[in-house]
Amino acid sequence: MDTNFLSVALADDDEDDRLLFDEAIKQLSIKTELTLFKDGQELMDYLLIPDVAHPNLIFLDLNMPAKNGMQCLQEIRQNTALKDLIIAIYSTSSSEQDIEETFVNGANIYINKPTSFSKLKEVIERVLHLNWQYHTSNMNRNTFLFRF
């Protein structure tokens, strides 16, 4: 288990948020390999490369130029090769409507961007554990919905 890396992707247009996320995930005991994307288009271009290794978990910001998180989510869910990816929305929006829309469109997890670094670490750790639990246990993928 210790030698396995969990591959994680984050698409976020805010450079500070990307840096903080990278720093936070590095400090966790779970070993991860993080790939960063500056917007939704970059992420989709990468995922659509033939035979590319898909991340175990994708964190997706909602408000991004070029292609926003909701568009990415819909494209991923409509693509048979990508539709089983686990997606965690990572956004500053706490509007109930936004949250519900992302779930209806296929998000598994909704995270309100935490305001402190320690909270950020805590939430990423909980999401990674949860995702791992779903991968290794007999749990229902269709109802994999969580909000943090």
Partner: protein, 188 residues
């Protein structure tokens, strides 16, 4: 006065392992670093004792069966959650009865291999079952609470909200909308 020490880890580790084996009267043929060959297969009880003894020195006993044991724990929890006769029992006694290990051993193996405690796993699994039942529109929350042995509807709702961040009713609404959306997207 300051004394400087140089450690030989190989010797230290092997000495500790040999001492513990002898203490438990386990006969062995060799103890190469990272591997012990016992002359006879160990009973579950002895294995458990050795596991505990070595753990105190920061030595973790690895065994292939551990992953299997984790799976068996998970399966037994699944059985328990839908077993009508198990509702009055405690998870700890149910697991140790069925699997023939002490609960403390089971819980340490589980935590070391899954990043989660048995207790947390039970909650997660239970909430997963609640989710499944919530998709069945004919069931009321009261019925679901009874089936899964919650003391009350508010206990169920509280645990659901705490674990998933959603209320049972918003979860139900989302699942209903997802279903209609999927149906729509399949229309020609």
């Amino acid at each position: 006065m300051k004394i400087y020490l140089r450690y030989n880890f190989k010797v230290i580790c092997e000495t500790v392992v040999r001492e513990q084996l002898e203490k438990l009267e386990i006969s062995y043929s060799s103890t190469d670093l990272g591997e012990v060959n016992t002359l006879e297969p160990l009973s579950l009880e002895t294995k458990e004792k050795l596991f505990k003894a070595l753990k105190g020195y920061g030595i973790t006993m690895l065994e292939d069966q551990k992953e299997t044991l984790v799976d068996r724990i998970k399966n037994t929890i699944d059985e328990m959650l839908i077993d009508e006769n198990a509702r009055i029992l405690k998870v700890s006694s149910y697991l140790s009865d069925k699997l023939n290990y002490t609960y403390s051993y089971l819980s340490s193996v589980f935590s070391e291999n899954t990043y989660s405690s048995i207790e947390n796993y039970v909650i997660l699994r239970k909430v997963d079952l609640v989710k499944e039942l919530l998709c069945d529109e004919d069931l009321t929350l009261t019925e679901i609470a009874y089936r899964l042995n919650y003391s009350s509807v508010s206990h169920l709702s509280g645990q659901f909200k705490k674990t998933t961040g959603l209320t049972p009713s918003s979860f139900q609404r989302i699942m209903r909308r997802k279903k209609t959306q999927t149906l729509q997207s399949f229309k020609p």
